[in-house]
């Protein structure tokens, strides 16, 4: 299968501070890959670098066969990359529905109304609260909103930055279940950044292990998940 996203020698820095060193990774068309690592390993930076946001980067990023490194964030997004950022990026003073409408900002087609129903179908709770100020939502609901907002773009690829962060286990399960559904029903590829390695490995087909800005190991999730040293370091048993 061909890769929808591929990086070669991707490095990134904040000002003079080098954070990523020559990252090679790939997300297969319709697949889910996960990027695991400890705090400060460079997971969020990787996602930012892919969108050319807030970092200085070098190396090659290919999306859907075309080079996107060096393009403006807005243009990268418009090509079909939905980024669910760290901290969820909620527009707190806008209503839930306005948040979703922003997700469809770049679209001019007539399907937008149907997509509202589509995401409300995944997350009925958002529909109940659609006129509420987004800032009043709970953490889990805001995470759902962030995913929905990215889906409104009709992305080919979703970048997910720790969707489990700060959420109750049950809510995490619900969200990951829906992510799987979205992947299976719509064929949206995903790159998932997680600290919660267990749940990420269960969802993803491929895994990359990031340590201080370098990929130190990668392979099918099942292989990575059963590796003794990985289990000790990241899975806690």
């Amino acid at each position: 299968m061909s890769a929808i996203l591929e990086t070669r020698g991707l490095s990134a820095a904040y000002g003079p501070t080098q954070v990523l060193q020559s990252i090679d990774l790939a997300v297969e068309q319709g697949g889910i890959a996960t990027l695991l690592g400890a705090n400060g390993a460079g997971k969020t930076t990787t996602l930012r670098a892919l969108c050319n946001m807030m970092v200085r980067l070098s190396g090659e990023v290919r999306f859907d066969g075309e080079r996107i490194d060096g393009k403006a964030t807005e243009d990268i997004v418009r090509r079909g990359i939905g980024h669910v950022p760290e901290g969820r990026g909620t527009f707190v003073s806008l209503s839930v529905e306005e948040n979703l409408r922003l997700g469809a900002h770049t679209r001019r087609d007539k399907q937008v109304a149907r997509d509202f129903e589509r995401v409300y179908g995944y997350f009925p709770r958002l529909k109940e609260r659609r006129n509420q100020q987004a800032g009043t939502l709970s953490g889990g609901e805001q995470q759902m909103l962030a995913i929905s907002r990215a889906l409104m773009l009709r992305p080919k690829l979703l970048l997910l930055d720790e969707p489990s962060f700060g959420l109750a286990p049950l809510v995490v399960q619900e969200i990951f279940h829906i992510l799987r559904t979205i992947n299976q029903q719509e064929g949206v590829s995903m790159l998932l950044v997680e600290q919660n390695a267990n749940i990420a490995l269960a969802l993803a087909g491929r895994a990359y292990l990031l340590e201080t800005g370098r990929i130190i190991m990668h392979g099918p999730s099942a292989v990575i998940g059963s590796d003794e040293s990985v289990r000790r370091a990241y899975l806690g048993y």
Partner: protein, 290 residues
């Protein structure tokens, strides 16, 4: 009583002008946390252009519309060319740049149109039926025009995708980028709109105070006062604040200090707000950095 009512209504009319300027200031402040000290000069310059077009024989309202268009382009161009390089600069640099801008536009007005005070005709006939003992025809027209503009701006932000995108940028530029909003253009658009609203205020003010390069200084101060009163990060609070300071100004002028200290009253209001409630009536509390 009648005199009091007259002062109130007249204050409401001037308040509309202040509300417009306050709104323009807040629009720029919300997106970039810049206080546009050149807002008044931009308005003055646009008003001169309207004057020139009317002198050349264009019908008033055509000149008015062309002026708004020009003011929009001027605002957007200033953002793109002059302000943009300073987004990451320290506050001091930014303020200095705005003051520089103020000086340049002010001197441009003076150089092109001379420093002689010019009368500027009101588009509203002075014997119009809607003039009364309480309000002159121009004041009524001024209220009408500013209210229409404010309503249009409100509708733009509330009901159009572009307006929504601009609100999004004001709140969270990073997130806005991630949904594909072209943040840079939204900022330029905000400046354009601010310039346009300022031009409305300028053309409506000129018949009252006469046209000269410094005519908007006082108005700008009241705009600041209104914006601070409402809360400088709250657009509709700022509009309300503009109306309130307009009425305050008229009452103070009529009953307290006389008309000679108009600008000083604005200073008083500004300092008063900063001492008593710096976040304004409707603004978020400013987080104090030590």
């Amino acid at each position: 009583m009648q005199a009091f009512l007259h002062q109130m209504l007249s204050g409401f009319a001037t308040g509309g002008i202040y509300a417009s300027i306050a709104l323009a200031l807040v629009m720029i402040y919300q997106t970039t946390h810049h206080v546009n000290f050149a807002q008044g000069e931009m308005a003055t310059f646009s008003t001169y252009l309207a004057w020139q077009m009317i002198e050349l024989g264009l019908p008033y309202w055509l000149a008015f519309l062309l002026t708004l268009l020009f003011a929009f382009i001027l605002g957007a161009a200033i953002e793109r060319i002059i302000v943009r390089p300073f987004y990451k600069a320290p506050v001091l640099s930014v303020v200095a740049v705005f003051i520089g801008l103020l000086l340049i536009i002010n001197s441009l007005s003076g150089a092109l149109f001379t420093y002689t005070i010019k009368p500027f005709a009101s588009p509203f006939p002075s014997d119009a039926w809607y003039g009364s003992a309480y309000l002159s025809a121009h004041e009524v027209g001024m209220i009408f025009v500013t209210l229409v503009v404010l309503a249009l701006v409100f509708a733009f932000f509330r009901y159009t995708p572009l307006g929504l995108a601009m609100r999004a940028v004001a709140e969270n530029p990073v997130s806005s980028r991630l949904v594909g909003v072209r943040v840079g253009w939204m900022l330029a658009l905000g400046w354009g709109l601010a310039g346009l609203i300022g031009a409305v205020a300028g053309t409506m003010t000129a018949p009252v105070v006469y046209l000269d390069p410094n005519m908007m200084f006082g108005v700008l101060l009241y705009g600041f006062a209104g914006a601070l009163l409402g809360g400088i990060d709250n657009a509709w609070g700022a509009v309300l604040g503009g109306f309130i300071v307009g009425i305050l100004q008229n009452l103070a002028g009529a009953y307290v200090v006389g008309t000679e200290l108009m600008v000083t009253v604005a200073l008083g209001i500004i300092v008063g707000i900063l001492v008593i409630k710096p976040s304004g009536l409707f603004g978020r509390t400013i987080v104090t950095r030590v």
